[in-house]
Amino acid sequence: MNEQTPPATERAEKLKGLGCARKRVEDARFIQGKGNYVDDIKMPGMLFGDFVRSPYAHARVVSVDKAAALALPGVVAVLTAADLEPLNLHWMPTLAGDKQMVLADGKVLFQGQEVAFVVAEDRYIAADAVELVEVEYEELPVVTDPFKALDPDAPVLREDIADQKEGAHGPRRHPNHIFTWEQGDEAATNAVLAGAAQSENAVVVEEMIQYHRCHPCPLETCGCVASMDKVNGKLTVWGTFQAPHAVRTIASLISGIAEHNIRIVSPDIGGGFGTKVGVYPGYICAIVASIVTGVPVKWVEDRIENLIATAFARDYWMQGKIAATKDGKITGLWCHTTADHGAFDACADPSKFPAGFMNICTGSYDIPTAWLAVDGVYTNKAPGGVAYRCSFRVTEASYFIERMIDILAIKLDMDPVELRMKNFIRKDQFPYQSALGWEYDSGDYHTAMEKVLKAVDYDGLRREQAARVEAFKRGETRKLMGIGVSHFTEIVGAGPVKNCDILGLGMFDSCAIRIHPTGSVTARLGTISQGQGHATTFAQILASEIGIPADDITVEEGDTDTAPYGLGTYGSRSTPVAGAAAAMAGRKIRAKAQMIAAWLLEVHDDDLEWDVDRFVVKGAPERFKTMTELAFAAYNQAVPGLEPGLEAVSYYDPPNMTFPFGAYISVMDIDVDTGEVEIRRFYALDDCGTRINPMIIEGQVHGGLTEAVAIVLGQEIAYDEDGNVMTGTLMDFFLPTAVEAPHYETDHTTTPSPHHPIGAKGVGESPNVGGVSCLANAVNDAFRAFGHVHAQMPHDHWRVWKIAEGLGLHG
């Protein structure tokens, strides 16, 4: 240091590193309408693709007559399965080890399934041509109930694998059965339950908890522009891809085009939420059309197509049993889940986890004995499911356990907070080995819960609620008050290569950094933001590691030609995995810089210490080299034993998942006569470990909570018995406006992850995990005083009314 050196705190502030509420660098283009989304792309000669889709949920395709469509001026091609078969592209592998029709091959299995792909000079002609394709169908009996799908005489849906007794995940016991996945100790759990049932000092509760079918519905639908350059043999595809490298590898494997000749680019993406992880028929058809025609082909689906045909989320029927002592200590948990996957298992899970991380369903609780079994089933619905703003199946698992806890609390006549506190994993128990196989990294659940209880005056709320019940009974009000509590533990950051892979691709992630001579930085990652602000936040991680201001660091993602290989962004994995890679790459940079500094300062490496943005000689603080000086030196000095330049790459294989957690409390007033639910208060405390950018965290929480509001209060992909989608447009698919979205209060505690380089855990999806449980618990809680135990979501007006009706509250 010298007199001109500003103090460390000031220098750290200038970096806008970890912890800074740095304004987003992405905003400049979006607020001016200069984003570059897939449908903004225009290329000379570009054609448009559009699908002919099945109106039936289950039918044979008897014939497809393209003649009228082909005769329309401007129509270039009409592709069917027969056209794709010679390329072996009429079917494609799914991410879950199943296969899926790209275009109807002899039959259709869900309403909206792709039958033919029309390619035309513009989207208006393509739309006209779609109307002109004549398809003859022969209807078949429809199966929409996953339980009935396993009846001995149920119609066989997947005739293509009807004889296969082995699926990708083990034996299949029925033609409509996909897999059985088990975790935990069945015998021990059954013994605990049996013992509790017979004991006077114990209780067992049992309930069927359904998490209904939803859809991530990002504001931008899925789409791509595929461009095959026949001259130099290179295929480029711009698309709504949350995992661009995985798409490149898959595209190479199924098309036969060498991977180095494929470039996948994810431009700006208008929200992902899991919808944009998998590969859809539209991408394959656009690629084939481009290869066949030699010009770029664009495919962009409309909203109805997105809702009825792209991957749904949830649709889990979770039968639960929980045993506890009479004073509230949980002794065992049993869960059997029926998973409705629709017509094809297109679940985007790590390949060894056909039910994702459902085995996090012991939640935040120290449950000594547990057993989980999941049966996957085919039905005549759209294929999937995806992890909608969650890590794989974590929303389902968390909803399941948080409802079971509340139901147990009713049986024990206990307050739901009291029951939780009694069973929380204690801080000193971490790292905690759960009965279903996970090692939770860190947590301090009691502190989080206490903080929230104090902030909302929980006891005061319960008193108010009790008074309201009395007022209701006296006829003074028709509104009941519900208090919802949830304490969730998530498992995110997939994940360690030894057990996490997508189609064999290990779920590491990466960061490549290059420091330029004048001290600014280009960094590239294997992840891809769809609104999470990576260009802003990853620069902050790097700034804190390498001492160069975030404003001088450009972060790029999404172009497989330049970005290091990574598995993309979903399941809150970017910060845990790519963020770690960024930190590690930054440390490699700093290690080399340290050696350069040592040589320049003529000291030993160990004689230097790092001080925010420079190396300082220990004991001689006036002798230092800033990172900016070292950057130039890397290009300018011949340092013995070191190559010139200053760059590093890290491929980070995380040692474990991370386990963010949170305590949420909501308060609502319910009109028992109309079923209207008004959320009066929502207090969300999140612990995501080290907090990179508080402003962005808050934004993620607001957004995730609003998705939770949607899911609990009415959002649903509903089918009738004939497999017709009842909620295929935004008229009926509930998305809240600014009027329905409540005001949120956010809070935090910080319990770093011990194994993560900067202690960060990820947060983007926590609110959707905790929010649904919290709000659903509030609705059920409102009616507890009248003997109500559990009602299935969604809690839209008529279903809330039905609870009240069933309890005789309508007089």
């Binding site: 006209d128 006569d673 109309t674 009314w801 309508h810």
Partner: protein
């Protein structure tokens, strides 16, 4: 998302518009605000070959007072209805209902004429017009005729308007000063069609109801003017017994269908709740305005 092709016409006068309709026949459709028709065309559920855009026709615009009536041109937008202070003074029920239709953008272009003419049982204005005992003017090749709103609706998307007629004006008798009014609408979210809606207009003097008019929306395949419900309120003290009688009469007049909003039992129940709220609010207003 993409509509079928059509030819676009933009006449400058009502006579020109009706002439076009007569000439083009079944293949033609008028275009008002377009926010009912165009969404149908984009889904290819409607495919007129000719669209006759009415936006330039001056005689279809404006809100004027003609003696004891307010006359509203069919091309008056919901936004214009809300913005009109004269209308808010004379017939405040209209502003209250218009604010609950769709969203700001749709209200800027959606017209009262479009909302009442197409016979969509989900629209808010038809029931309102029946409550107000409005009259619709229809212009066609045979001249101008009047049809009461209460006689206009025959079935879902079926009205008394001939295919060659244009609904040009709406005439509303101005309710008595100090009248009570309420438009109560239960909906799944702001801007949605009604799960159940009730329009109530009433006059009160000396603690008794002199006259009452009740109309219900989206509880049948047409709006329902519940004459017996109004009759149950007229002459009463607007207390519990009268309200219950009005609800019972209303329930006998509606015929809701099950849909995504809920089953029939639910709709009937909330229809009653909504009507009671509307009556209560209308009564409160009448009493306040009398004082």
């Amino acid at each position: 998302m993409i509509p079928g092709p059509f030819e676009y016409h933009r006449p400058a006068s009502l006579a020109e518009a009706t002439g076009l309709l007569a000439e083009l026949g079944d293949d033609a459709h008028v275009l008002a605000g377009g926010h009912s028709l165009i969404p149908m065309m984009k889904l290819r559920m409607a495919a007129p070959e000719h669209l006759i855009d009415l936006q330039d026709i001056a005689e279809l615009k404006g809100i004027t007072r003609e003696g004891s009536e307010i006359v509203i041109g069919a091309m008056t937008t919901q936004h214009d209805l809300i913005a009109s202070d004269e209308l808010a003074q004379a017939v405040p029920l209209i502003r209250e209902a218009a604010l609950q239709i769709a969203d700001p953008q749709v209200r800027y272009l959606g017209t009262i004429g479009g909302n009442v003419a197409n016979g969509d049982p989900g629209n808010d204005m038809p029931g309102l017009m029946q409550c107000l005992n409005a009259t619709f003017e229809l212009d066609g090749p045979n001249g101008n005729r009047h049809v009461a709103a209460r006689d206009f609706y025959q079935g879902a998307f079926v009205t008394a308007r001939g295919d060659d007629e244009i609904l040009s004006r709406i005439r509303i008798p101005v309710p008595a000063p100090g009248h009570g009014f309420a438009y109560e609408k239960l909906k799944r979210k702001i801007g949605d069609y009604a799960t159940a809606a009730a329009a109530v207009l009433l006059t009160v003097s000396g603690g008794r109801c002199d006259s009452a008019s009740v109309a219900m929306t989206n509880l049948s395949d047409t709006p329902v003017f519940a004459a017996e419900a109004g009759a149950a309120l007229a002459g009463s003290d607007l207390g519990g017994a009268a309200t219950d009688a009005a609800v019972a009469a209303m329930l006998a007049a509606i015929d809701p269908a099950e849909d995504n909003r809920g089953p029939v039992a639910f709709k009937k129940h909330v229809a009653g709740v909504i009507l009671k709220r509307a009556i209560a609010r209308a009564t409160k207003r009448a009493n306040e305005r009398a004082a």
